[in-house]
């Protein structure tokens, strides 16, 4: 699989990433990353002159860096991930001080064969985009990529149905040290004041429950996910007389990762990073198709 550079993929961990699906990029040249960085930098400078892409309190020169992350892929058919970083150095601070990273974005594709299979040569498939940082930068970077490579970015939301798959899958993952609780957050509809219910379960109990339910290791069926969620719901009902199945599941959190229905995820465990990205790639592809 090649040498894993833990430092580089580690920058994906423990950050809140906003998810987007991206249609294939037309005539994206992997050898031209330096050129693209320069062009994007010029575009951002021009936009800032117009008063766009300006973050309050930021009076800095913005540098753009594009790099390849070959470790971030699932199979040989996948395109290696592309990382975009906007950094700044204050005009006031001394020359040798570190650049501050203002915004990061990552195009990736982990096991995206469904999409890349029949794709013509000129197109590069990187259907999943992760963004971290102020929204004003996302919109200017997104616009540049859309104009330059004729692609379309769309926010990727996660339905309660998919969130329940995620919590079931991630609960089953083996974690060495004391893991954090498995937490589910529900939003109760049709109330004059919004009400959120947070249901936290001890990770070992949750894993024990999942282990009883899962028949074949490495395989998960819809039925198993349903049984898992039903057990959690009926336990809650027994104690609190509230039917969680009538509410909307909005966020799930485990030691592996957390995911919010607005399409915001945080990946917490390096060992399962690929697995989480594979799942997110699948969601992105189904939104594109």
């Amino acid at each position: 699989q090649g040498s894993e550079d833990p430092q580089r993929t580690a920058l994906l961990l423990r950050k809140a990433w906003t998810l987007y699906s991206v249609t294939p990029l037309y005539r994206f040249g992997r050898g031209r990353l330096r050129d693209y960085a320069r062009l994007l930098g010029a575009f951002i400078a021009a936009e800032r002159q117009k008063g766009l892409a300006v973050e309050v309190g930021v009076e800095l020169d913005i540098k753009v860096a594009l790099s390849s992350l070959p470790e971030l892929r699932g199979s040989e058919q996948d395109q290696p991930a592309v990382l975009v970083q906007l950094s700044s150095r204050s005009r006031a601070s001394p020359k040798n001080s570190e650049d501050k990273i203002l915004w990061s974005g990552c195009f990736c594709c982990v096991c995206g064969d469904d999409l890349s299979e029949n794709m013509p040569e000129d197109f590069t498939c990187l259907p999943l985009f992760l963004a971290n940082g102020a929204e004003c930068y996302m919109s200017v970077v997104g616009n540049w990529f859309q104009q330059t490579f004729d692609c379309v970015f769309r926010r990727l939301a996660i339905s309660p149905f998919n969130l329940s798959w995620m919590v079931a899958m991630w609960t089953g993952c083996k974690v060495d040290k004391a893991a954090s609780a498995v937490e589910l957050v529900f939003s109760v509809p049709c109330l004059p004041q919004p009400l959120d219910i947070s249901y936290a379960i001890h990770p070992e109990d949750a894993k024990a429950l999942w282990d009883i339910i899962q028949k074949t290791p490495g395989e998960i069926t819809q039925e198993e996910v349903d049984v898992f969620m039903d057990c959690l719901y009926s336990h809650f009902h027994r104690h609190f007389k509230i039917r969680l199945s009538a509410t909307k599941l909005v966020k799930v959190s485990t030691a592996i990762a957390s995911a919010h229905c607005d399409g915001i995820v945080k990946m917490l465990h390096s060992q399962y990073l690929s697995g989480v990205l594979m799942l997110l790639t699948e969601l992105a592809i189904s939104q594109i198709q």
């Binding site: 309660p160 149905f161 199945s245 599941l249």
Partner: protein, 131 residues
């Protein structure tokens, strides 16, 4: 007549008119509604399943809020030999159109439309959905 679950309370049995059509409403945003419908199905007499039972699925406008897989509902429809209708009751236009549709179906099930029986119409609905 609207009920939140079956069986209907027996106290009013003698006052109730003949039931010509049963529509089970499932909210795709609520797993609870599916469970409720599944539990209520057990209380329906077998003869209703000859074209007098329909499943109405609402909430399909918001695919990002769904808690139930549409496949599961289609399988339910197949298992009970009953057509599944999809709609979005939160949109007024669709609500009115759906109500008109259901009224038409009710007329057929109550044998008020010559040339159509509940059973033949139900089969027609199911076959066109499969295409």
């Amino acid at each position: 007549h609207i009920a939140t679950s079956l069986p209907l309370p027996s106290e009013r049995d003698h006052l109730r008119p003949r039931i010509d059509l049963i529509v089970f409403v499932i909210d795709i945003k609520s797993k609870c509604s599916l469970k409720n419908v599944e539990a209520s199905l057990a209380y329906v007499d077998a003869k209703f399943f000859l074209g007098k039972v329909y499943f109405l699925v609402t909430g399909v406008g918001r695919v990002n809020c769904c808690s139930i897989e549409t496949n599961a509902i289609c399988k339910l429809g197949e298992a009970y030999g009953s057509p599944v209708l999809f709609c979005e009751l939160e949109l007024e236009g669709v609500r009115v159109a759906t109500a008109q549709r259901l009224l038409r179906i009710l007329q057929i099930c109550a044998s008020l439309v010559p040339g159509f029986s509940a059973l033949s119409f139900g089969l027609l609905m199911r076959n066109s959905a499969d295409d």
